[in-house]
Amino acid sequence: MPHLLAARAQMGTSLAFHIIFSVLGVGLPLLLCIAEGIALKRKDPVWMTLARRWSKAAAIIFAIGAVSGTIVEFELGLLWPTYINYTGQIIGPLFAFEGFAFFLEAIFFAIYLYGWNRLKPFYHWLCSFPIVLGGAASTWFIVTTNAWMNTPTGFIFTNGKLTGIDTVSAIFNPSTPYETVHMLLACYVACGFGVAALYAFSMLRGKRDTYRRYGLLLGLGMAVIATPLQIASGDFNARYLASKQPAKLAAMEGVFTTGTNVPLHIGGFPIYDTQTGKGTFYYAIAIPDGLSLMVGYDPNTQIKGLNEFAPQDRPNPLPIHLAFDGMVGSGFFILGIAGLFWLLYFLRKRHFPEHRLLLLGILLAGPLSFLSVELGWMVTEEGRQPWVIYGLLRTSQAVTTAPFLNYSFLTFSAIYIVLAVTMIMLLLRQGRKPLPEMKWEAVSSGNDESADVSAEQEEQVGV
């Protein structure tokens, strides 16, 4: 494998793996906080059991997320030393701030997970708030750095030297508000559907009890609020890209030449030669004037095509367009599923809809929501190529000179496979454990009875 490709493959694999855990690490604490809050308000042991069992799963997920995040943090330097040299100088402090947000998350996660029987119920619940805040803050800090890579500001680059460094203006680069909101909402959408899908699965297998219904309501409740916001945020993003990241938009939509009355291509394969600038769009459904209307509410809106950029600066539209359509398609599908569920739920006067097809749809929405997170990330990363910091540093110039990157890539891939398989086995085992006896005295946190529960009960409740 060529040197650059090996480095990109290792970085890509690491991020594709880590992003799942970051999303879960940000979204699950909110679900825990809501579930435990409802449980305390209603003194409902079922809701409390949900929070307890999920906290045990979260312990495993969070630990794997912490170690895979460390890999990413190191790899930014190990694989891309030139990149980190520029990034460190201009926007480095954000990573340090993210370190603190992660600290906050880790500290209160530890207290939350291991403190079920050591803290009074209300204080235990309070501990979930810093976790939610820490998760949201670290998302903001990290995604802001990524936004800066897309639209770098806060420095002057002349004759190979950086001057006039202004980290604050780098932090508030034009992409920051659009990207950070989109990623944070993605965490809540994906976690909501992910949790709902698990309960849809066990309900499809005939386990239709209050515990699973509450779990499904919780997941879809979060999803139905976050998903429409997410689609609106995506719409803002598209218009913003047209003005600030036109090359990315052109690649996403397969716009080869600048023009007005640009159609919106749904699906299809934009086969494009970045060197000659010639290309054809195969098998797409074209909506006349669609893209021009979306961007400027006017069919005469001009959209920049890939021809505006020098051949060596053009991204390949094929993977970007496919990833983008996959993300948007999944987004509308899951929105439809969540909408249908709640429509039926309220039409039938809060009677839980348990139609097999609907449950199957929810089951499908879980993996699709995580898939759209991955695809969205690929759109923004591939759409920036061949640059790692747009206009400042090419990916090919950023890569390390270290040898044996093939082996490094293979080693880390093997580690990820082992971790993923083991963790899934572990989570499945946890999920299969029989539910505990759901009595308030047994599952509520911080009281003396729960300290005396039998080891078996403790194992099931999750301490």
């Binding site: 190191f74 340090a96 202004d166 980290t167 572990l426 085992r429």
Partner: protein, 348 residues
């Protein structure tokens, strides 16, 4: 006396973070090292003691490493880019160790009983390789062998980080981690009222402590020949710190011998802090001796100022939170500072 410059404030904070990682993260690795020796009638109890001790805190202790990495690349990007380029291999190996250690610990404590032995082995193996390679890498920096600077510097295949000095410091890191872990575990075992475990870890702490002392002396002697810049710097301004390190080490051993485990724990923490402090002070004014100084490697003043403001705000939130965590899981209901735990048994 002039106020310290911004880069020196940042490097001091990072050095304290390094000490925090060495003490807390190091003790967690040390517990993994002792896993290798777990056997006999109390094997199950020893596993449980280590699990209880690490469970609530290891992830937080690990975050110090993340903070160190990000602090170094935002405060001193040039130095960081050089280090990751030159020390690509030891750092990659340490990284693999870190990842496997964390995952193995969580896998073995959360079930997987059938394959728990495999994960136990991975847990102890990775607990050995991480401190070793981090120690060897640190020694490579201290020895002054890194002369080519910049992100495009070639990765070194071992001539810099597998020297006798680096190997000694690598093994010294292991011995120090093992000593800290043993002493921390005497306190944990006393809190759990398990006298047999207290005696086991007291003995291990004394032996590992003696090994650490010998390796420390060897490393110091080697430094005179293999780390000349460091040696000169030490003679110039770190002699009192080195003497203090030795005295505190003896104090920790005495406290451990007589069963004052809380005091021994405080002293071994101070010992580690003084050891790393001596290294840091001996290196002044270099971040990577003998060519790159702290001032030359620093990012722009505005970046440094922002970093310091951020760190100040962050620490105001984080330090009390960490204290709360340790209070709940390590202090509440535990042994008193001056109380004496179980002692006895043969040492050798």
């Amino acid at each position: 006396m002039a106020l310290p410059s911004l880069p020196y404030i940042v490097i001091t904070v990072l050095w304290f973070a390094l000490i925090a990682y060495a003490v807390f993260g190091g003790a967690d690795f040390g517990a993994g090292i002792w896993e290798i020796l777990v056997s006999g009638p109390t094997a199950k109890e020893q596993h449980a003691l280590i699990d209880d001790a690490l469970g609530p805190v290891w992830e937080v202790n690990h975050v110090w490493l993340v903070f160190l990495v990000v602090g170094l690349f935002s405060g001193f990007p040039g130095a960081f880019a050089t280090l990751v380029a030159v020390l690509f291999f030891p750092l990659t190996l340490a990284l693999i160790g870190t990842v496997l250690r964390g995952s193995a610990f969580i896998f073995r404590t959360h079930g997987l009983r059938k394959s728990a032995t495999i994960w136990n082995r991975i847990f102890s193996f990775s607990s050995v390789i991480t401190p070793f390679f981090l120690g060897a890498g640190a020694a490579a920096v201290a020895s002054g062998g890194i002369q080519d600077l910049g992100p495009k510097t070639q990765a070194n295949l071992g001539s810099l980080w597998l020297t006798p000095f680096c190997l000694t410091i690598g093994v010294l890191s292991l011995a120090l981690c093992a000593t800290m872990a043993a002493i921390f575990l005497t306190v944990e075992a006393t809190n759990q009222k398990k006298a047999d475990l207290v005696i086991i870890f007291r003995r291990r702490g004394l032996i590992a402590g003696a090994v650490t002392a010998v390796l420390g002396a060897v490393g110091l002697a080697e430094a005179a020949f293999q780390a000349p810049t460091l040696w000169q710097g030490m003679l110039a301004h770190a002699v009192p710190l080195v003497i203090a390190t030795m005295v505190i080490g003896v104090g920790a051993a005495v406290a451990l011998y007589f069963g004052y485990y809380r005091i021994a724990r405080a002293l071994i923490i101070a010992e580690t802090a003084f050891m790393l402090g001596s290294w840091g002070v001996s290196q002044i004014p270099y971040i990577i001796p003998p060519k790159l100084t702290v001032d030359a490697a620093a990012s722009s003043p505005s970046t440094q100022l922002l970093l310091i403001i951020g760190i100040a705000i962050g620490m105001i939130i984080i330090l009390p939170s960490i204290l709360l965590l340790f209070y709940i899981f390590k202090y509440k209901g535990g042994m008193g500072l001056l109380s004496k735990g179980a002692t006895g048994g043969t040492i050798l």
